[in-house]
Symmetry: C2
Subunit: 346 residues, 2 copies
DNA sequence: AGCCGCGATGAAAACGTTTACGTTGCGCCC
DNA sequence: GGGCGCAACGTAAACGTTTTCATCGCGGCT
């Protein structure tokens, strides 16, 4: 009545468990006729092999684990989508584990993965090298995403944050001629945020030498972007452009400026970073640095799969960077916008 | 050098594997002193128990599987977020399996879940009762989401589609006084779509008797909503309001109307269903039926967890419905909007 | 006719745990 | 002082597979 095991099938088909295993797995060694009989019995009994038992002996789970800091925001859902997409075509399953505020929390999650996954994709933007070294099993193939870590031990895949930031500043400063560019930075301990801010600083020196540098603190949240916008308003001295370290902050800033009666992009251009899906729907549509998030997830999984197939292939273990370009929409004034937009409502 | 097992710990600590198991699991039967020694050895060797082996004997994986039709759109990512949130607080892991176009694809996914999960959350808006009956293991606790299925075999959790549709039509027809309401329907084989369309029809009869019924076909995608909007424009006879069966179609329609130079909500009100995060960011902000998607995922997991704790508890196996209310923003004209908005660009 | 080889099959070990059961040793009571 | 109970610990079975190894026929070759 409960679950039917391989023994039941064997008994019913009048063969040994070994033959059932061979027949169902397509390993050779059984007559076509007995294989057929076994298959019929298995289908009739609705037999489905027990994953854990199989993994135990096979040492393969066909599952990869994804460890994410949390699950809020479109960046993460897009990333998961990319990973899942690629996993599916490879016949892999996806065990997600998100929202790890504390280190010990993440450590616990990491532990429970042992024996349940063949490999790991870890998004750890915080620079916690020692943590990973301490908690990642040596034997588990791992791909690190957006991590400051280097080295032959893991395979790391990063976004081209400096390049993206540079391209955006270049666009604003030289193509649009806006030299007075403020920057809304992300959390200081976040690796992407660090790289983007540094990219901004370098690019400003390159494309707008002598222009004032203005950096506001943010937390990658819409709310912190809103506060940064409010801060700009309150300062009484608006920049000609605001470059936010991610899209959600750009949107928050946009809302704040809009409420303050500022014409975007007429008076102030606003741009972001990531190109999350929402970016194209806000008004004015957000000019931003396009990170192909889905592709990021996809290639992370591809790399991991390659690692699984050839475990000691150090070739794929090298660090790599995913390029990103800028996508120009309305919020930077590249296209003439019909009218000044002021909406005090909401 | 490879993985360290419980035997290694036992040998190193000078005890038997049984004692190691007892010490590490906190089952009684070991001196405080030996437990301490064992714990130290385990920590030093970086021992972490093998999940599959443990599950095999324990018959518990502490993992639940989520079977989703696909992973596109914010609805699904929000749902997963809700499930994950609740799973984390219960110490459960999440095995996601998405994008099942064909039945056999889904069946395969279902099979591989055996022995890897303790329970299942299945989102199957298509009315495929026989499929589930055929492929769901009898013994696996299962929560069905947005499913037409009833019965004591599974626990099902639905959105109050009729109520939501009714509330929206009521708002448009009686509170806003717009009786000429067109409807953009979803895929015909989708259960939610069916219920929402029926809800629209009933509510129209109730709140706008005699008013013309106008139903356009859609596919739940932004693109199909756009086409529906274009169709309305081409017809030369615009309704006073458009009620789309989901937000993405509403947004597509919004864009089409905007491009056609139609004032929304001045000439035509546009409303949606779901309240996905994007809804509040479009201009005008979308009035919609709020489905607390995160809560939906959360309660699905809560139900499943209850099922796991008390397997033969038929009390929680009953069908249940999650209420939804409408959230009024700008796209239905409830608030006076500053100016007519026409933007031919893009 | 006797052997050899090979293809099909079965028996049993192995994977890494948990747990029921048996075995100690010790202190206690009568 | 001998038996009894109990706590601490070890032994081994069990979970459901896969896989190695041995066994068994059987046909073809010399």
């Amino acid at each position: 009545m409960t679950t039917v095991t391989i023994k039941d099938v064997a008994r019913e088909a009048g063969v040994s468990v070994a033959s059932v295993s061979r027949a169902l797995n397509g390993t050779g060694g059984v007559t076509a006729e007995t294989e057929k009989r076994i298959r019929e019995v298995a289908a009739r009994l609705r037999y489905v092999p027990h994953g854990a038992a199989r993994s135990l002996i096979t040492r393969r789970t066909h599952t990869i684990g994804a460890l994410l800091p949390d699950m809020y925001g479109e960046f993460f859902s897009e990333l998961i989508r990319g990973i899942d997409l690629a996993a599916r075509t490879r016949g892999l399953h996806l065990l997600v584990s998100s929202a790890h505020d504390g280190m010990d929390d993440a450590a616990a999650a990491l532990r429970t993965m042992r024996g349940r996954v063949d490999g790991l994709i870890v998004l750890s933007p915080r620079a916690d090298a020692s943590f990973l070294h301490a908690n990642l099993p040596e034997s588990l193939p791992t791909v690190l995403l957006n991590s400051p870590l280097r080295g032959r031990r893991y395979s790391v895949l990063n976004i081209d944050n400096p390049g993206g930031a540079r391209a955006m500043v270049r666009h604003l400063a030289v193509e649009r001629g806006l030299r007075d560019i403020a920057f809304i930075a992300g959390p200081p301990d976040n690796f992407d945020a660090q790289q983007r801010e540094e990219g901004y600083r370098h690019a400003m020196a390159e494309f707008a030498p002598g222009a004032p540098l203005r950096v506001l603190r943010g937390e990658f949240t819409e709310d912190s972007g809103y506060r940064a916008g409010a801060e700009l308003l309150a300062s009484g001295k608006l920049p000609r452009a605001v470059f936010a370290a991610n899209d959600m902050m750009a949107i928050g800033c946009l809302l704040a400026l809009r409420e303050g009666g500022v014409d975007v992009p007429g008076e102030v251009a606003v741009t972001g970073f990531d190109d999350i899906p929402i970016a194209r729907y806000v008004t004015p549509a957000l000019t931003t640095v396009r990170v192909r998030i889905v592709d990021l997830g996809r290639s992370a999984l591809e790399r991991l799969a390659a690692l699984l197939d050839a475990p000691d292939q150090t070739a794929t273990t090298q660090a790599d960077t995913l390029g990103c370009d800028i996508v120009v929409r309305d919020s930077c004034g590249a296209r003439p916008h019909a009218r000044t937009f002021t909406n005090k409502a909401r």
